[in-house]
């Protein structure tokens, strides 16, 4: 080959290699984007994105994680260990026979909500800078909703496990620390209070449709949760104040007439509803609440029979087959189910709950006016279902100087009759037993509700207040070496 051709070749080659390398080095060639999903860079840019992300958080209340549904777990935790339901002796939660391998110990659905809420809280604030139709105030509203859901989830966790990992960072990348040790109950509760205070400042009072107003976080929902949290921490004045904020909005929140009491559950989103996790059979959103908590315990039946409570139970069998009457779709006093879709809502808060919470707070605020008002709220709940008032002036026997213990006894009974099977009872018993330093308030009631043969065993299992909290699931301990099992189960 002559040297000219050689040089020509080298020149061509050089140019080619440059081109080739230039082409292949082109950054875009190695930056491929998925076609079947939205990337985070593309998401969190508009108002609609913020709403869609928030809707995704609510979805986590409907669905679940780790094979357990959020609402089923919440209902189990709040009800099965207490005295108003009846299970076969093979149910370990009912028998207080707990170990870390049971699915009852799975907290994944709650952290699933927390994780999605954390993403909203972390990434929504950047949107106002990218979308002119989405102001900083708009972003605060969305973030308030996320903080409510985060607070609600932590409140379930702290009441059920006491000390839990306080995860506040969004699970957005592999730079995030995922192996987090437990925080003290107080620091979790402090964070809940702080979140709720933030939410209270920005959250809407209502939304465009009434279903949204009952199905999304509102100011009343935030205040209701605040009342619940303060009551749990024995901050009674704050609890009463928070409850009052809800009660003050008597245009949006009204008690349903007693005759329609069952429609609160079967028709859903009633006028007294504050926050309900929504389900709709029509769009394939169903749940397992109907069969989750078995039949009614004689303790509750005795309450209702003793009071001749015709509205809230006596007409009914408290159950439809093995289904709890509040979730089976009963709309009237017959045993016929008029709502067939397996889609009851899970009611987190409704008005009578707030009334009784306020009454409970007031009882702890001293004799005289506070207790008088407590009786007033108690009677409001009772007279709605045509039961006799407790007020001494209305033929009852309570006044501003009645003993706190007696009043608590009556409030708890009223809560049982009104809110049974709504996932409240176990936490009610724990709260009173702890705050009023009388463990027997929980232990005796639970023991008495069990069959005679099981009572000794049940008592031995719950006599230690540390046993009121659940063990941390084995899978969780395996996956996170920072965790330490709860004291009772070590």
């Amino acid at each position: 080959m002559n040297s000219l051709a050689y040089k020509r070749f080298l020149t061509t080659l050089g140019v080619t290699l440059l081109l080739g390398f230039g082409f292949s080095g082109c950054k875009k060639f190695l930056d491929q984007k998925p076609e079947n999903a939205i990337t985070r860079e593309e998401f969190f840019r508009t108002k609609d994105d913020a709403t869609a992300a928030m809707i995704g958080c609510y979805d986590a209340l409907q669905s679940g994680a780790g094979g357990v549904a959020f609402v089923t777990q919440a209902l189990n935790w709040g009800e099965v260990r207490a005295d108003l339901v009846n299970f076969a002796a093979t149910n370990t939660l009912y028998m207080q026979n707990l170990d870390k391998t049971q699915s009852y110990c799975n907290w994944a659905p709650f952290y699933n909500v927390i994780g999605r809420a954390n993403l909203v809280i972390e990434f929504v604030p950047r949107i106002p800078g990218l979308d002119n139709n989405f102001s900083v105030d708009d972003s605060k509203k969305i973030i308030a909703e996320a903080k409510f859901l985060r607070a609600l989830s932590y409140f379930y966790l702290v009441r059920t496990f006491k000390e839990v990992p306080l995860v506040l960072q969004a699970p957005s990348s592999d730079d995030v620390k995922y192996f987090i040790p437990k925080s003290s109950a107080d620091s979790v509760l402090n964070k809940i209070e702080a979140d709720l205070a933030d939410a209270d400042a920005s959250i809407p009072v209502s939304y465009g449709t009434s279903v949204e107003t009952r199905g999304r976080a509102t100011k009343a929902a935030v205040n209701a949760l605040q009342a619940d949290v303060y009551l749990w921490r024995a901050k009674y004045q704050l609890a009463a104040d928070a409850a009052q904020k809800v009660l003050a909005n008597n245009t949006l929140y009204k008690l349903v007439p007693g005759a329609d009491w069952l429609t609160i559950f079967s028709q859903k989103n009633s006028s007294e509803s504050i926050f309900e996790v929504q389900f709709d059979n029509g769009i394939n959103e169903t749940n397992g609440l109907r069969g989750a908590i078995g039949t009614t315990n004689s303790v509750l039946i005795n309450y209702l029979t003793g009071e001749s409570d015709l509205m809230r139970g006596l007409y009914n069998t408290y159950a439809q087959g093995n289904n709890s009457w509040k979730y089976s779709g009963l709309t009237n006093n017959s045993t016929a189910i008029s709502r067939t879709g397996n889609d009851p809502n899970f009611i987190v808060y409704r008005l009578p709950d707030i009334m009784l919470m306020k009454a409970e707070a007031l009882v702890h605020l001293g004799n005289g006016e506070p207790k008088k008002e407590a009786v007033k709220w108690l009677d409001t709940v009772r007279t709605r279902v045509n039961l006799t008032p407790y007020d001494i002036n209305r033929g009852g026997f309570l006044d501003g100087n009645s003993s706190s213990a007696l009043m608590m006894e009556i409030i708890m009974k009223e809560r049982a009759m009104e809110l049974a099977h709504e996932g409240k009872r176990w936490y009610d018993l724990m709260r009173v037993a702890t705050n009023d330093s009388m463990p027997g308030f929980l232990v005796d009631r639970v023991v008495l509700s069990r069959s005679v043969g099981d009572r000794q065993l049940i008592k031995s299992r719950i006599i230690d207040p540390r046993s009121w909290y659940l063990p941390i699931a084995q899978s969780e301990l395996q996956a996170n070496n920072q965790l330490v099992q709860n004291p009772f189960y070590r």
Partner: protein, 1089 residues
């Protein structure tokens, strides 16, 4: 893509540029053509593949050619003043003046042990080179660990797939097909499993181009449907040779794709000769797999009744009980009066056929090899089969002395018919073993017991257990694939040792899957939404690879250097479309036009791009020392940010001890070479195209609004899994090259294992893919060759043998957290885990010691052997399962070792009871020739591995979890006839027991030694002597009879000890009841025109 198109345009411009250069030089082509023959001095034996080169006055090569099979050559020379140099490996090279002569008869003498440098430099003998995919290297110069399987080995074995060709032939390469079905998937492990989550399949390179070699790995909702194995698309008769790069330095040239080794396939190319036409046909029979004896109907009924009685569920009002009692008053009585041998009805003797035609030849400038073949393999299970049509056109075109092109255009269409798993969840083979023998194949009239026309498809007491005969005969399940792999290479000899090469290739692999299960198979009636179902799918994978090479090769006196610069651009697109529908109005309509309910439609597309730069340098000094350095830098769209690029280096060297003066006395040694290498390679097989990008998906709805939520987190730290490997080897041959061995010792360590780690649920997400942990494989491989008898004449007796064996130890050396636990694969819940300090593929479970003969034997005994009593002091304390309040063991129950002597058999008594990794494995080949006859034996073996005999678990557990849940009321193997039945029975087979799995939980009871040696092939061949063939106007005719899998020596009690090693390495070595490999014989005939 736009950029890519732009790049392609530039490529075309380049091509034109190169072409124009080439044509210019063609104009100067010389006109003198010389011809000649090269023969051995004295014997006059023609020497094929001798190198004939034209060298100029400065001793530089101008032109070169190789002799054909008859020793002939034709060379177009540049200048008659130049000289011809003839070189042949093992012979003295010779230089001849050209002058005015145009015909040469050159004789060369065998090398007398002198300086062979020149020969080595110039001899280009295909048989002695090794392909690294990118380039070819003389075996003498090789310093890394490469196993080679040559074409002549294939010739003696009429194989229809490549796995049969590799298995047992290369030390350290474990090959297992996933079942005995034709066209089944293949698992190849080179030097052990080195990854947990990134796949362990080697890279396949055909004629320099990496191909798509693994089954489709997108998400599939159609798990039971027939799958395509792209490796089955290769026609073995097209293959010239296979080179397997085993170590890190050799594979480093493939960088990020080569962590599991590289298999390099070179196909046959045309040679300068008159046209050769070869026709090959074979016909074979495969026996039906041996049946596992199961209970007959009467035995089955007794066993079931015992299981119920022992569980306390014997109840004359339950259907499950009534079906086992011979009571004509029972309304379904007639359904349970048969004695069906289900397994016999789904097996058959299968016929396999293979036809292949090839044409090859060529002249001075064009050489071609065209092959086409058709294969039709029936499976020995009814409903299975494999059909394949292949064609390949390999063309080499020499435009000028400098410029040449080659094109390879293979196309394959395959159809794979598989047996879909029954809807009740098992393989048809497995279902046929557990289906109640008392039930009939065809429906019966309930009052008269008369057989009706249709299949009996109700599950009856077996709930949803489908009728396996109906399933095998009526379900349609196949996949058709189209595999097109064209590539074009341009080579340009720049001169001064510099070569440029561009290869552009496409690999298109399309699959159409179709599945139809009629109501007669599903056993469901018209008002069930899923009573019949149709599923179709289209998968498409397209890969484009463009390689640019610059190769350099110069010799400076005793120093020879070569180098390679390369740049590779690759794009890969994967597309899937899947549709499924239920409830066609009639079984006559089997398409998606009919169904009343579309169950799902989904599509998925992904792109993956990568760019690589490779630099390699080799230097050889005096044929005594050699060193090779390779660096590859890869960039991939699979990784994010700073982790997009990674560098994979490799280095190796050899020292030919033979060349040292002190070796001179040892005349019997023909070769002694020490080699060493080190290299790093990468693996990212376990992650999808966009894993690192945080993605959000719609579908998390609430209140009727569409919600969007995160589906995975952003992975800023994810990077390639890296395999670092060091290898030391010794090659030696003795006694006139009659004996030789290759020995390699290696240490292979996988670092930064990619694993989709489960996170604590408190994190809010379930998994994160990251790099963690190390795995180490250490081993030794030995290859031996011996020519025991060397034929003295053409018709003499010849016998040569080769043997290979490999030993390797696998160890998980580092795992943060110590243990990864996987969801259980069943079989009594063996703990599937990867644990630091264990090998991948270890099993944990209880230690099974036998069966309690009496209830009394199950009483807990203290250290002195005295009985232990309960707290009341007189009730004997029985062994219990799971907890102190668990069920008590009784006579007839399994005895498990209670390691902590607490009287409770629980997780704390689980120990390491098995290891799926063989201690060693390998193959032995013997080839004898006498006159026109040949006899080849091939045996492969494996020793020291354990298998969880899942089939035996399913066939001996004698347990139904509940009356209704699958697998209920199953039939069992005939071996359960020796089960414990009454107090005092002494046996190793526990009692039948429903509702309680205490006797079948994961234990050493199910673990067996999987060692085997298999006479996998005997071939008896005969070739008609050339003269006789010529009388028939043929170039040659030969016939072969091959018997495969004639004997298997094993203690394994299952159907086949060759167990798939696919899937998660934590759960390898489980016999899941795939169709076993069968014995068969094949008659093949080859005619050459």
């Amino acid at each position: 893509m736009k950029n890519f198109m732009l790049g392609a345009k530039r490529g075309v411009v380049l091509l034109l540029a190169v072409l124009s250069v080439g044509f210019t030089s063609q104009a100067q082509a010389p006109r003198v053509v010389i011809k000649g023959t090269v023969t051995e001095f004295k014997t006059g034996k023609p020497l094929a593949s001798a190198s004939v080169t034209e060298v100029n006055s400065s001793d530089r090569q101008v032109n070169g050619v190789m002799t054909d099979e008859e020793g002939n050559f034709t060379l177009r020379i540049a200048d008659t003043k130049n000289k011809l140099r003839i070189a042949y490996i093992g012979y003295e090279s010779k230089v001849v003046e050209i002058g005015t002569r145009t015909s040469f008869s050159i004789m060369i003498e065998p090398d007398k042990g002198g300086n062979t440098d020149q020969v080595i430099v110039l001899a280009y003998n295909k048989k002695n080179t090794v392909s690294t995919g990118f380039t070819e290297i003389n075996k003498r110069d090789l310093s890394s660990a490469v196993s080679t399987i040559k074409g002549e080995v294939f010739a003696e074995q009429p194989a229809t797939s490549i796995d049969q060709m590799i298995q047992g032939r290369a030390a350290g390469v474990q090959v297992v097909s996933s079942s005995g079905d034709p066209g089944a998937g293949i698992d190849i492990r080179i030097r052990g499993a080195s990854s947990i989550g990134s796949g362990n399949d080697p890279l396949f390179v055909i004629d320099g181009i990496p191909i798509i070699s693994t089954p489709f790995d997108g998400n599939s909702t159609q798990t039971g449907t027939a799958r395509i194995n792209p490796l089955a698309d290769i026609n073995p008769l097209d293959i010239e040779r296979i080179d397997i790069l085993k170590d890190g330095s050799g594979a480093a040239i493939y960088g990020s794709r080569a962590a599991n080794g590289v298999v390099i396939v070179t196909t046959k190319r045309g040679r300068k000769a008159v046209t050769n036409i070869t026709f090959n046909s074979s016909l074979g029979f495969q026996e039906a797999p041996a049946a596992i004896p199961v209970l007959n109907a009467a035995e089955y009924k007794v066993m079931r009744l015992e299981a119920m009685q022992n569980a306390g569920t014997l109840n004359p009002y339950r259907d499950e009980t009534r079906a086992m009692l011979n009571d004509p008053a029972y309304f379904s009585y007639q359904y349970y009066q048969s004695d069906t041998k289900w397994n016999d009805l789904i097996r058959r003797t299968a016929i396999t056929q293979n036809y292949s035609l090839s044409l090859s030849g060529g002249g001075e400038s064009v050489k071609y090899n065209f092959g086409t073949s058709y294969t039709d393999n029936m499976g020995s299970s009814i409903g299975t089969g494999f059909q394949r049509a292949t064609s390949r056109f390999n063309l080499d075109y020499k435009v000028s002395n400098r410029l040449s092109f080659s094109a390879n255009i293979p196309f394959t269409r395959s159809k794979n018919q598989g047996l879909a798993n029954t809807s009740s969840g098992g393989t048809v083979y497995y279902t046929s073993l557990i289906k109640a023998p008392s039930m009939p194949v065809y429906d019966v009239d309930l009052t008269t017991g008369k057989q009706l026309q249709d299949y009996m498809s109700l599950g009856g007491i077996q709930n949803n257990l489908d009728n396996p005969v109906a399933w095998a005969n009526s379900v349609t399940n196949y996949t058709v694939s189209y595999n097109l792999q064209p590539n074009i290479a341009v080579r340009y000899d720049v001169g001064r040792g510099l070569n440029f090469e561009n290869t552009t290739s496409l690999n298109y692999l399309g699959e159409n899957g179709y599945y139809y299960a009629p109501a007669i198979a599903t056993g469901l009636i018209w008002n069930d939404g899923g009573f019949n179902r149709v599923q179709t799918r289209d998968f498409e994978r397209t890969q484009v690879v463009i390689n640019n090479f610059l190769k350099y090769n110069r010799t400076f006196n005793k120093l020879r250097v070569s180098g390679l610069l390369a740049n590779t651009i690759q794009t890969f697109k994967q597309f899937q479309l899947q549709e499924g529908g239920y409830a066609n109005p009639s079984s006559e309509i089997q398409t998606l036009n009919g169904p009343s309910r579309i169950a799902y439609i989904n599509t998925n597309t992904s792109f993956e791009n990568s760019v690589s730069y490779v630099a390699q340098g080799n230097a050889y000094y005096n044929d005594k020392y050699g060193v090779s350095l390779t660096v590859r830098r890869d960039g991939s769209s699979k990784f994010g940010g700073a982790k997009k690029y990674a560098t994979f280096p490799g280095v190796s060297g050899f020292w030919r001890i033979l060349k040292e003066p002190f070796m001179d006395k040892l005349k019997f040694v023909n070769e002694l070479k020490l080699k060493g290498s080190w290299g790093q390679t990468g693996n990212s097989g376990g992650i999808g195209a966009y894993t690192y990008i945080s993605q959000f998906n719609a579908g998390t709805n609430y209140l009727g609004y569409t919600g969007i939520s995160q589906s995975n987190a952003e992975l800023n730290n994810l990077q390639w899994e890296v395999v670092e490997q060091a290898n030391i080897g010794l090659e030696a041959t003795f006694f006139d090259n009659r004996f030789g061995f290759d020995i390699d010792i290696y240490k292979k360590e996988t670092k930064k294992l990619i694993y989709n780690q489960a996170l604590p649920s408190s994190s809010g997400i379930s998994n994160i893919t990251n790099n963690l942990g190390n795995i180490k494989n250490q081993g030794i491989e030995l290859d031996l060759q011996a020519t025991i008898l060397r034929p003295k004449t053409r018709n003499g007796l010849g016998w040569d043998m080769s043997f290979n064996i490999a030993h390797s130890v696998n160890l998980v050396t580092e795992l943060p957290g110590g243990t990864l636990t996987f969801s259980s694969r069943g079989y009594g819940a063996f703990v599937n885990q990867v644990k630091q300090g264990d090998a991948l593929g270890t099993y944990y479970g209880l230690k099974f010691l036998g069966v309690y003969a009496t209830d009394d034997d199950a009483v807990v005994k203290d250290a002195k052997g005295n009985k232990v009593f309960e707290a009341n002091g007189f009730t004997p304390k029985y062994m219990r399962i799971n907890s102190a309040t668990g069920n008590a063991f009784k006579g007839g129950d399994a005895i498990y070792q209670d390691f902590n002597n607490d009287g409770v058999i629980d997780d704390q008594d689980r120990i390491l009871i098995g290891n799926a990794n063989p201690l060693f494995f390998g193959g032995l080949r013997s080839n004898m020739t006498y006159k026109s006859f040949s006899l080849t034996l091939f045996c492969n073996f494996q020793y020291g591995n354990d298998i969880i005999n899942g089939m035996r678990y399913n066939l001996e557990k004698m347990y139904s979890p509940t009356a209704s849940s699958f697998p209920a009321n199953t039939n069992q193997a005939a071996s359960v006839l020796r089960r414990w039945r009454k107090q005092g029975d002494i046996t190793d087979m526990p009692r039948a027991l429903d509702l309680d799995d205490r006797n079948s939980i994961a234990s050493s009871r199910w673990i067996e030694d999987g060692s085997y040696a298999r006479l996998s092939q005997i071939t008896f061949g005969y070739a008609l002597p050339t003269k006789l063939a010529q009388n028939l106007r043929l170039k040659g005719i030969s016939a072969q009879l091959m018997i495969n899998n004639l004997f298997t020596w094993t203690n394994y009690t299952g159907a086949d000890p060759e167990i798939s090693i696919s899937g998660s390495p934590s759960s390898i070595g489980i016999d899941e009841g795939q169709n076993p490999r069968t014995r068969g014989f094949t008659f093949a005939m080859t005619v050459r025109f």
